[in-house]
Every structure is written in C-alpha cells, then in structure tokens.
C-alpha cells in the first residue's frame, strides 16, 4: 500500500552529508579499561557491594576494634566470669573472665590471617605448579596432573589431623594443614586456564613475533588468567577460615593463648545452655565472614567474566 501523502517527500528535501576522511573510524565512547569495566559491573551488583561492606566492616573491627576498648583479650579476671553483655563488657565475658569484645577482635584477626595466608600459599604454589603443567603440556602435564589427582583423592581432614598430630598444633600447622592439599584446586584451575589460553591466537601471534616463554607468561597468560585466579582466591579464603574454625572446634585449632573464631565458638559451645551469647557472638562473626567473602566472590566472578561484557 502506498501512502497518499507520498507526494510531500521530494528529492530536494534531502541534503547529502559529507563523511570526512577517517570519520567513519572515529570512536566517541571514552576508552574503558578492563579493570574499570570490572569495577563498574561489580558496583551494579547489590549483593556484592553488601559483601564488600561486610568485609570492610570486619577488617575495621579486627584492626581498629582494640582501640575502642581498654580490655586485653588475654587478661583473665576470675571475679568477672560469664558476665552477660553490658556497658562495661560490650559482648560480655567468657568463663575465664576475658572480655569477649577484645577477644573477638583478636580472634577475627587470627582467622582472617589464617584465611589470607592459606589463600596466598595456595595461590603461589597452585599458580606455579598449574602454570608449568599447562604451559609445557605433554608428558610434563601428564605426570604433574597424576600427582594432583592422587592428592585430590585424599580427604583433607585426614591429612590435617595426621599433620597436626605429627608436628603438633600451632598457627602455622593449621595453615599448613589447610594448604598441603588445598593448592591442588588452584593448580587445576590455573592449568586449565593456561591450557586454554596458550592456544589463543594472540599467544600464537606473540610467539610468531619471537616472544620468550617468560614474556608470554607475564604479558598474556597471567593477566588473562587473573580474573579466574582472583575469584578462586575469594572462595579459598572463607574455605580456609571455615576449615580452621572446624579444626578448632574439634580441638585441633590454634593453641592457647591464641584465639580464633573457631576456638571461641568451641569455648562458647560448652556453656551453650547457660550463656548462649558466648557461642552466638563468634558464630555470627563466622557467618558474616563467610557471607562477605562469598558475596564478593560471586560478584567478582560475574564482573570478571568477559563473556558477560555489555
């Protein structure tokens, strides 16, 4: 069907526009780097932002908390045992009369330290091991991955208990117990990434240009695997904190006078019926840590995934 008003549109109503040289190639949107884009996408994810706020609050609590209280987390006072939360002892006191607020700050710090240390060791060992395995491939990869398979098959709790029995309890024993089999997850992940990335055409292009192995690893492989590695770390940290809490709870955790969220929960658990706050307070701290890291991890995973780029 033709419109009746078609006669209104005539040739002289159009004006040719001249396209200047190179104008077709111009990009007007400001350049956005990969990391800026990640931040933008992360901030859009409300849950991730909540997680980040929780984590920052926990860090402030662990490091700045002691400044607000004059109590020493190790100082016992047998006249003030099992005091409920009050103006003097904000979170009450435990069965040895130690201030729970000061102790919780201290325990959070120790727990975070265990988590971050375990994740860092996983990171270093896993990235190097997985990177070598994936990059060189072939027989090297076969042998290295069989070792990983064997380690993966051993339940970590058994290794952890054996190790703690052999070398005795201590902060570093707990960290070691967590990482001795924990790094295989990171190694597998990094290997998979490297295996995939090294066949990318931009890596081939770098090789065709004569780039060295180290050059390719530093310039192309690590930056491109970084997103996945960071995400894995944000899940390793709460895993390690939880693992430590679990070991502490069954009595294999950090020894006294150190305190962690796990040992505090263990102590509180004994008086659950009479003084429930002694378990509830460290339990809430553990939950907040878990939630914070998991929210941030989920948010980062979505934000770092280039396939979701819009």
């Amino acid at each position: 069907m033709r419109l009746a008003s078609a006669q209104e549109i005539t040739r002289d109503m159009f004006e040719p526009l001249q396209l200047g040289a190179g104008e077709g190639e111009a990009i007007t949107r400001p350049p956005i780097s990969y990391w800026r884009e990640v931040v933008r996408r992360f901030r859009r994810n409300r849950l991730a932002v909540v997680g980040l706020v929780i984590l920052i609050a926990l860090l402030v609590f662990a490091f700045a908390g002691p400044l607000f209280t004059h109590w020493d987390p190790r100082e016992q006072s047998l006249f003030d045992t099992n005091k409920p939360p009050s103006g003097e002892h904000w979170f009450g006191t435990d069965n040895l009369g130690r201030d729970m607020f000061a102790r919780l700050c201290y325990g959070t710090k120790v727990s975070l330290f265990v988590g971050v240390m375990a994740a860092l060791i996983d990171l270093v060992v896993g990235v190097i091991y997985g990177g070598i395995s994936g990059y060189f491939g072939g027989a090297v990869d076969d042998v290295m991955m069989r070792v990983v398979d064997i380690l993966y098959g051993i339940p970590y709790i058994i290794v952890a208990i054996l190790l703690l029995v052999v070398i005795g309890p201590g902060l570093w024993s707990v960290i070691l117990a967590m990482t001795i089999t924990g790094w295989v997850g990171m190694a597998r992940l990094v290997r998979g990434q490297v295996l995939q990335l090294k066949e990318q055409e931009y890596v081939l292009a770098a090789r065709a240009l004569g780039a060295s192995h180290l050059g390719i690893i530093l310039r192309h492989l690590i930056p491109n695997a970084m997103g996945v590695i960071i995400v894995q770390m944000t899940f390793t940290i709460p895993g390690a904190i939880f693992g430590e809490a679990f070991l502490s709870f069954i009595g294999l955790g950090v020894p006294l006078p150190l305190a962690s969220l796990g040992t505090m929960a263990n102590d509180g658990y004994q008086y659950l019926r009479i003084y429930p706050y002694q378990l509830i307070i460290p339990a809430i701290a553990i939950i907040m840590t878990m939630l914070g890291f998991n929210f941030v991890g989920d948010g980062l995973r979505d934000a770092l995934d280039p396939k979701l780029r819009r």
């Binding site: 190639e25 350049p31 292009a205 240009l209 004569g210 780039a211 930056p223």
Partner: protein, 323 residues
C-alpha cells in the same frame, strides 16, 4: 628478465613438509603430509582447500609456530629449522603471520598501542617517544588514527581489528607474510577493505604473501600461483590464470565450479560439479589416492597407488592418475 633467475627469485621453499599431531599411541593426525612448493619474491601464493585440509597447519608451520615432523622449510637459502637463538629472532622479523579470527588474535587485556608495541619491545626496535611515534605511524598505515592507540580491542569492529592485527605484523617490517584466511571471518562489505589494504602494502613494501583461503574467487583475484590442498596433500599447483582456466584435478574442478558467475543467465545454465560425501578423517586417510572416496572418475589404480605430483603443462602440476 629473460635469463633464468629462478634460483634467485625463490624466497621460500617448502620441501616434503610433514606435520603430524600425535593424539594417542595409535592415532596420528597427518595434518600436512608431504607438501612441496616454492614461493617467488613479491608474489602472492594462494593456498586453498576446504576446512581441515591442513592449510592453516601448513601456514603456521612455515612461520615456525609448529615444529615440522619432517621436511624442510628453506627461507632465503637457509633451513629455518636449523636456526638457533638470535637467528630465530632475525627470521621472525622477516616472516609474520596474520590470523583468521580478528576477535581471538588480539589480547583483550592490552590496549591497541601495547599490542602493536609488543612487537617493537620484543625486538627492541623502539623505546619511549620513538615507540609511540612508530605505533601511531603503523596505525596510520592501516587506516586507523593515533587516538586509537589507547583503546581496547573490544571497542573495534571486525575489520578494524583485522587491520590492527596487520599493523602488529608490520611492526617488525617483515618481508614475507602468511595471511591465514584473513578475511573469512569478516563481513563481505569489509573483506574488500582488508584485501585492498593487503594489496596496497604488497606494492608499497614489496611484500611476499602466502594467502590461505577457502574462497577461491578471492584467491583468483589476488594470487599469482595457487596450490590446492586436500587432506594434507597438495593435489594441484599452477599459476592462478592457468588453474582457473584449465583445472585438471577432479577436486579442483569441483571447487571451481562452486564459484558463482556474476551473470544470472550464464549462472542459470551452468552445470555445477557437486562434490559428494564428506572428507575422510585425516587420522585414517584412505589407502591410495586420498580423493578416491569423492572422485567422479575413480579408477582401480586410485585405490592402490598414491598419485605423485606430476607436471601436466608448463608450470602446472597435479597429483592424479588421470594424467
């Protein structure tokens, strides 16, 4: 030039090149199986064939991305596989490659400036202000502007990205470029842009190309000599005009008949030779001639004996028992 300058003209000789990939103890994929050809200085050598025929593997082996299983690649009289250390780097400055997929061939984490600059850094060609000036110059050569240097690959269109890939290859001032299906991932409207750029660069810089493609029409337009590959073998080799006028291998005939003729009357009357069946697996190719399973003119000898590349006309070679 009237005298026999043949020996001087040839820049690249590929002699009995084989590249096998070992999958398991028994399965060996013979991606490139005994391929021999030579490329003269300043020419465009087209390498055609359908997917999986080994043309990309051949190209990548020539630039040194894969180590040949056997055979030799001789560039300017030197056996490339014998080069070590600094000589390898020198060779890489002579020979560059342009990749098929402009989305995969640029590192998404690097700016365009750094992608091109990487080539300069590896060979220590320019630093500081020189490096930037050189990057801008290269962008200009491929029709992009200096301000694109701070952008990331995802901000560009396919054709623009392919030109960035070309700029990267040009950064080391190569003499020889293997273009591995540089246009097959692009829109038809953009293909001409990239092809024209490649042609212009060839004239301006005296480049020699190996142009790998499955689009015979484009290869015809560009190439001086064409090699047709099938299942890892070179089945026909001839000057471009000769090959298109007088294809002798049944496979080449089939391929050429797939090119539409831009005249509807002729096109309607034309009889197409349709190749029946699938390409056999390169892990387990048929005994005798590899093309026997799809050949219209198969003879008993084809099932027994592997045909050798024979001269059927001056400069025109074919591997077929019919000749």
């Amino acid at each position: 030039m009237v005298q026999d300058t043949h020996a001087h003209d040839v820049v690249l000789e590929v002699i009995n090149l084989k590249k096998y990939f070992q999958f398991s103890r028994k399965a060996v994929l013979k991606a490139v199986d005994d391929v021999t050809f030579s490329v003269k200085k300043g020419e465009v050598f087209g390498l055609v064939g359908e997917s999986g025929c080994g043309k990309t593997t051949a190209g990548r082996t020539i630039v040194g991305l894969y180590t040949p299983t056997s055979g030799r690649i001789v560039y300017e009289g030197e056996d490339v596989s014998k080069l070590r250390g600094a000589d390898v780097k020198r060779f890489k400055r002579h020979m560059q490659i342009i990749f098929q997929d402009p989305y995969a061939s640029l590192d998404p984490r690097m700016t365009v400036g750094d992608i091109i600059g990487e080539a300069l850094d590896i060979h220590g060609l320019a630093t500081g202000r020189d490096r930037l000036a050189r990057i801008h110059e290269l962008l200009d050569v491929v029709g992009l502007s200096a301000e694109h240097a701070n952008r990331f690959p995802h901000e560009f269109s396919g054709g623009q990205r392919q030109r960035i890939g070309i700029a990267r290859a040009l950064a080391v001032d190569p003499k020889f470029i293997v273009a591995d299906e540089p246009i097959s991932a692009l829109d038809v409207s953009i293909q001409a842009q990239v092809v024209n750029l490649l042609s212009r660069l060839r004239e301006e810089r005296g480049l020699t190309y190996i142009f790998i493609a499955h689009d015979l029409a484009m290869v015809k337009h560009l190439s001086d000599n064409v090699g047709v590959m099938y299942l890892g073998r070179l089945v026909e080799l001839a000057p471009s005009a000769e090959l298109y006028k007088n294809p002798v291998h049944p496979y080449t005939q089939g391929l050429l008949s797939a090119i539409p003729i831009p005249d509807p009357r002729v096109e309607r009357e034309r009889k197409r030779i349709v190749l029946e069946g699938e390409v056999p697996s390169p892990v387990n190719p048929p005994r005798g001639c590899r093309f026997q399973t799809r050949c219209r003119t198969v003879k008993p000898i084809c099932r027994e004996e592997d045909p050798k590349l024979k001269q059927v006309a001056p400069g025109h070679f074919a591997a077929c028992h019919l000749y």
